[in-house]
């Protein structure tokens, strides 16, 4: 830490709390990404970090630099607005792509099934984990 000791206590404590909660939300989302069992379930998990986690860390950064430089520093709003706009767009694109890939795999599976060339177990059919990437 390269800062002087004349920072008010409530600023330091607020920044610490916001940072801890933001980082905790982010790792919760990534653990969900690691542990959930389906792609369509896994899409939901990391948005916890990219909306509320990022928001809390950005608010902590705004409070800290505003106190540190004794003027209003709000250029973190840029990142916040950008993340708010881009996260739904990218996830919509990604889920549409995944859905069309699943549809194509299902159609190919059905064609092979009709020709009697499928020998996997019935509970494995149309499963997303057993198909090649």
């Amino acid at each position: 830490m390269t800062v002087a000791a004349d920072i008010p206590a409530w600023v330091a404590l607020t920044t610490a709390a916001l940072l801890l909660v933001g980082a905790g939300l982010t790792i919760t989302g990534t653990l969900g990404l690691l542990r959930l069992d389906n792609f369509y379930k896994r899409v939901h998990a990391p948005t916890l970090g990219s909306t509320l986690g990022a928001g809390l860390v950005l608010i902590a950064s705004m409070i800290w630099f505003t106190t540190l430089q004794t003027r209003l520093v709000i250029h973190e709003v840029l990142i916040a607005v950008f993340m708010t706009v881009t996260t739904p767009v990218t996830l919509m694109l990604l889920v549409r792509a995944a859905f069309s890939r699943d549809q194509k795999a299902k159609e190919a599976h059905d064609i092979l099934d009709a020709q009697g060339k499928v020998q996997d177990a019935p509970e494995n059919r149309h499963g997303r984990a057993s198909e090649p990437s």
Binding site: V3, T15, G49, S61, F65, L94
Partner: protein
């Protein structure tokens, strides 16, 4: 006293964010299909951007903000391009 609490909180936050990046990396490595890997890459760059912001708070330097903004912009472009590629088989048609 409060500065010591802030210092420890920053260190703990950085450890948590590094663990988040590690989880996303594991999902990139084991992800059964391509869309899982792209999703994990998205989560990876968001965690990296937050880690850059905590570095900025720790050192009191504004330069890390520019790095975070750059990671956000390039990560969006990368994920959108990957999703387009998975959808169509090519990025620019």
């Amino acid at each position: 006293m409060s500065m010591a609490i802030l210092g420890w909180s920053i260190i703990i936050s950085q450890i948590l964010l590094a663990l988040a990046m590690a989880c996303a990396t594991v999902r990139i490595l084991i992800g059964p299909r391509a869309q899982d890997r792209v999703l994990a890459l998205d989560a990876l760059y968001v965690s990296g951007m937050l880690l850059m912001l905590t570095f900025g708070i720790r050192t009191g330097s504004v330069i890390y903000f520019d790095v975070a903004l750059l990671i956000a912009v390039l990560g969006f472009v990368g994920t959108a391009a990957f999703a387009k590629f998975l959808m169509r088989g090519e990025v620019i048609e």
